[in-house]
Amino acid sequence: MTNEELLGKQNPLFSFLEWFGDLAKFCLRLTKAVVTPPFELRELLRQMHEIGTKSLPLVAMAGAAIGVVLSMHARESLVRFGAKSLLPILIILSIIKESGPIITALVVSGRVGAGIGAELGSMKVTEQIDAIEASAVDPFKLLVVTRVLACMLMLPLLTIVADFCGIMAGWVANTLVEPIPFSFYITNGFTTITFSEFLPAVFKTVVFGLLIGIVGCFQGMTTQGGTEGVGRASTSAVVISSLCVILADVLLVRLTILLFS
């Protein structure tokens, strides 16, 4: 009896270890492919447009919604404790340090992670990836490296957009209830924000982008089983990448505190 039979092919632990091993090999291949020519710059720009520009409206709306919600919740609590003047600080600090990056990553994970998983999965089951390879082109460089790099490059930019929209929407929501001058809102809100708080919060989204890109591409490139497999790849890309983003956030926040506090 082989080891595979002893362990049982359907054993969840065996399947997880197998998946994890394949993911590790995928990451090693990605690392090698990123640093070896030829570089697919044209496709990278196309993916930056697909992943970045096309996510912009969604990220902007999500950021604005968070700003409004934060404003409504925080106002009620702060008024109760007589600390209404801290409202701009609370909104801006929460958005820049946590809400902006995590909401951006989760929105991109939903839109882009699912898109990458479904697109590559569909290409896999219809032999389009084999066709690229048969045309003497490395599909890994063309499809995977470009998407992962595009996610890593666009996430910080999208986060800045989400932060901006959140802060502006927070002021609008606040002003509708009790008008405050914009200059006061900004000056007051940014008094406690330094670059050592802003930069780690934005740059941790590079890691989020890496996770979303890797998980989406891996699930897509390993799709099996026709259209049903494409559906599974798409769903699992969103679920796993969202989970990875949340877990990575815990570690990165802890690391930021250790390094910058």
Partner: protein
């Protein structure tokens, strides 16, 4: 197929490929002379498509050797293999056109990747090959907007655009109506005659075999059970071969 080694485009020796416990190809030996058309026949799941994928390096054999123009290809590095792949064209079973690219861009893809031709030259070359397959008016259409037969023609144009020395055709007429099948066969035949390309055709369609093949190979359970010219194979008394040829005609 008897031929001097220098005249061989493909030489396969003791080729074996298994997926898990299932052996798909079990010690295949095959020689294909330059400029000839070989049809590979056999029941579904006997490793015909796998044979084509092994030839172009999309899969690695478990044992055995494959020589293309005298070069052993199973152990080539990726850059070396890609150099060899430029001499091969592959028409996939479902054409495998890139969804996100138009017909024109699909056919231009290998040219853009492997030549330094200017944009206008690429467009002209694409227009010419699409005219040859009867699709010069469909340049801007997307793959989702064309029929199965048209997809096969675009796939064929893409496979031929780099002027390959060998073309691998995986069921080029599967799922097509008899008239379109005949048109595709005629197209393949005329292109082969024009360009003197070595062809390996995997098919179930015995009418296509009669129209295209110089040589026939029949696979059963991973082994070659009959081989020869169409006339020789028709004389074969192996019960499987007799039944296969009778049921297909």
């Amino acid at each position: 197929m008897e031929s001097s080694p220098n005249n061989l485009a493909v030489q396969i020796r003791s080729l074996r490929k298994a997926f898990g416990k299932q052996t798909v190809l079990d010690g295949i030996n095959l020689d294909i002379a330059r400029g000839k058309t070989v049809a590979v026949l056999g029941r579904s799941g006997t490793g015909k498509s796998v044979l084509l994928k092994l030839l172009i390096g999309l899969q690695k054999p478990d044992e055995g050797t494959i020589e293309l123009f005298g070069t052993e290809v199973t152990n080539l590095s990726l850059p070396e293999l890609n150099q060899m792949r430029k001499k091969l064209g592959f028409l996939f079973q479902q054409a495998a056109l890139y969804d996100s690219l138009s017909v024109e861009e699909n056919v231009a893809f290998p040219l853009r990747r492997h030549t330094k031709l200017k944009d206008a030259e690429i467009r002209e070359k694409v227009r010419q090959i699409l005219a040859r397959v009867g699709l010069e008016k469909d340049l801007k259409k997307m793959p989702s907007g064309i029929s199965g037969g048209m997809k096969k023609r675009v796939g064929l144009a893409r496979a031929l655009i780099l002027d390959p020395e060998i073309i691998l055709l995986d069921e080029p007429t599967a799922g097509l109506d008899p008239i379109t099948t005949e048109e595709i066969d005629e197209l393949i035949k005329s292109l082969q005659e024009e360009r003197k390309i070595t062809s390996v055709v995997v098919t179930h369609d015995l009418h296509s075999v009669n129209r295209l093949a110089d040589h026939i190979v029949i696979l059963k359970e991973g082994e070659v059970i009959a081989e020869g010219t169409p006339a020789e194979v028709k004389q074969n008394q192996n019960p499987f071969v007799v039944k296969f040829l009778e049921s297909g005609l």
